[in-house]
């Protein structure tokens, strides 16, 4: 019915034939009241929902400050074998916040394969977090391998995967020398060519499309 449709297009309620309409009215009192009450209700609901949502989702975006931790002096780490040290990843929660790091001095003969890892790490600090699902790996001196007890992941001297389900090499930590002390800093992840990336969770491959499919998160420090 084209006639009726034209009448609805008019913004004046008088033209739309609404009972009680007066000259020049564009919105009825009922609609105004309803709209105002609904808007007030939405504001009230948002007042408690949005802070709660922010509270729940906030930690995703919070970035933890960089921390450097002294782990020993420059004489105690060999360049052909790993020495385990314990560092604190998350302070103030006791044992749950600590992790083991395997330390070795930078060795130009074996570490030059790695693409631009050397300029930031005078000492190599390999994380014990397995790149499969995060179990703690153990350095076995006799076979020169890191072995994961959970699902049989095996890594070589440089932390590259040589067996089992892990999807990328072991993470590393930045290191620096401060006087006579060696300090361990933030974590970074590497792909199979040992190129540096910002830290990723275990199970996230970084080769090829992996670095885009598993993006760096707001909370993890960017390189």
């Amino acid at each position: 019915m084209p006639g009726k449709r034209d009448k609805h297009k008019s913004k004046y309620t008088l033209d739309r034939g609404m009972p009680g309409a007066f000259e020049g009215e564009t919105i009825t009192r009922r609609r105004f009241m309803t709209g105002t009450v609904h808007t007030t209700g939405a504001v009230a609901a948002a007042a408690f929902t949005l802070p709660a949502l922010g509270f729940a989702l906030g930690p995703i975006f919070k970035s933890t400050p960089h921390r450097w931790e002294v782990v020993g002096n420059i004489y105690q780490f060999p360049d052909n074998n790993y020495v385990p040290v314990v560092i604190t990843l998350t302070p103030n929660i006791g044992e749950a916040g600590k992790s083991t790091v395997y330390m070795r001095k930078f060795n130009p003969e074996i570490d030059n394969d790695a693409a631009d890892v050397d300029s930031h790490t005078p000492y190599i600090a390999i994380s014990s977090r397995c790149a499969h699902v995060g179990c703690p790996v153990r350095w076995v001196d006799a076979s020169e391998r890191f072995i994961c007890p959970c699902h049989g992941g095996v890594y070589d001297l440089l932390g590259r995967r040589v067996g089992g389900p892990p999807v990328r090499p072991l993470d590393r930590f930045y290191t620096r020398v401060n006087g006579e002390n060696v300090e361990v800093g933030p974590r970074f992840s590497v792909n199979s060519q040992l190129r540096r990336f910002s830290p990723r969770d275990p199970g996230e491959p970084l080769d090829g499309i992996g670095q885009y499919l598993y993006p760096s998160r707001p909370g993890a420090q960017k390189l």
Partner: protein
């Protein structure tokens, strides 16, 4: 206004009519106690009409062939109630403190509290019982075809209940905060992270950050104790309402009886 007739009661529960010649009589103290109880129930019922609802829920017609498989749903709910009650008692002692308080509070409950080891054991084994029963109930519903029209929504609610049960198991596993709990959670959260694109954000959301931190245990505790039980209770209520409203199905091997006229006549 004339009173509507009450919904039907099964025969054993109906009060028998008085024998002829016996009249009312006052009855002894047992009779008096019974009448007092009935009076209390009547007082509540007149103000809430709950007895109609109770009769609608409990005295439903069920199809011929209903067997013991149909008890699996109620068994699951019983397991849930057991978990809720034992969980409440455990929550009175538990401390969600990652720096050692959590482990210590569970050790205290297990070793030093009267019946603490029993209640904790019921809660721990009860969760396995509930997961097993949930799957058996789901299998029964599937193989009996009880998900078909008009019960599709009930099936969907059931699947959501299954997911919530799994969330309860996952979050509850971390709470004792021993080595097994800690590493199982690390592994579980990292598995979440392997999903493409949103995986890393999901694992960050679960952990409360990019590393396992002080808030991770508290998050898991709040989800386990407040968020999911509330959702579970609401959805179980909806699930039960739909079961009562739509009725249960006959087992798939039950055949409908043909009307006499349609049966072939014997020669």
């Amino acid at each position: 206004m004339p009173k509507l007739p009450a919904p039907p009661l099964p025969a054993p529960l109906r009060t028998p009519p008085p024998r002829p010649g016996e009249g009312t009589g006052n009855g002894g103290p047992v009779e008096g106690a019974k009448q007092a109880g009935v009076a209390v129930v009547d007082w509540v019922d007149e103000r809430t009409s709950l007895s109609g609802a109770a009769r609608w829920l409990m005295f439903r017609k069920v199809p011929k062939g209903t067997n013991w498989f149909y008890t699996l749903g109620s068994a699951t709910m019983f397991a849930f109630l057991s978990q809720a009650v034992t969980g409440v008692f455990l929550a009175m002692y538990y401390r969600p403190d990652p720096a050692g308080g959590a482990y210590e509070s569970i050790r205290y409950v297990t070793n030093d509290v009267f019946l603490g080891q029993f209640v904790r054991g019921m809660h721990k084994w009860g969760s396995s019982v509930m997961v097993v029963l949930v799957f058996l109930h789901m299998a029964r519903t599937f193989f009996f075809g009880a998900y078909k029209y008009p019960r599709e929504l009930n099936w969907v609610i059931g699947v959501v209940l299954l997911i919530l049960t799994m969330v309860m198991s996952f979050t509850g596993y971390l709470l004792p905060f021993d080595q097994r709990a800690y590493w199982a959670t690390i592994v579980g959260v990292n598995i979440n992270g392997t999903g493409p694109l949103i995986g890393p954000y999901l694992s960050d959301f679960l952990r409360g950050g990019s590393e396992f931190g002080a808030t991770t245990l508290s998050r898991f505790y709040a989800i386990h104790m407040l968020l999911v039980p509330g959702l579970l209770a609401a959805l179980i209520g909806a699930h039960l309402y739909l079961v009562a409203k739509l009725g249960t199905t006959a087992p798939p091997w039950a055949k409908a009886e043909k009307r006499k006229e349609l049966r072939e006549t014997e020669v």
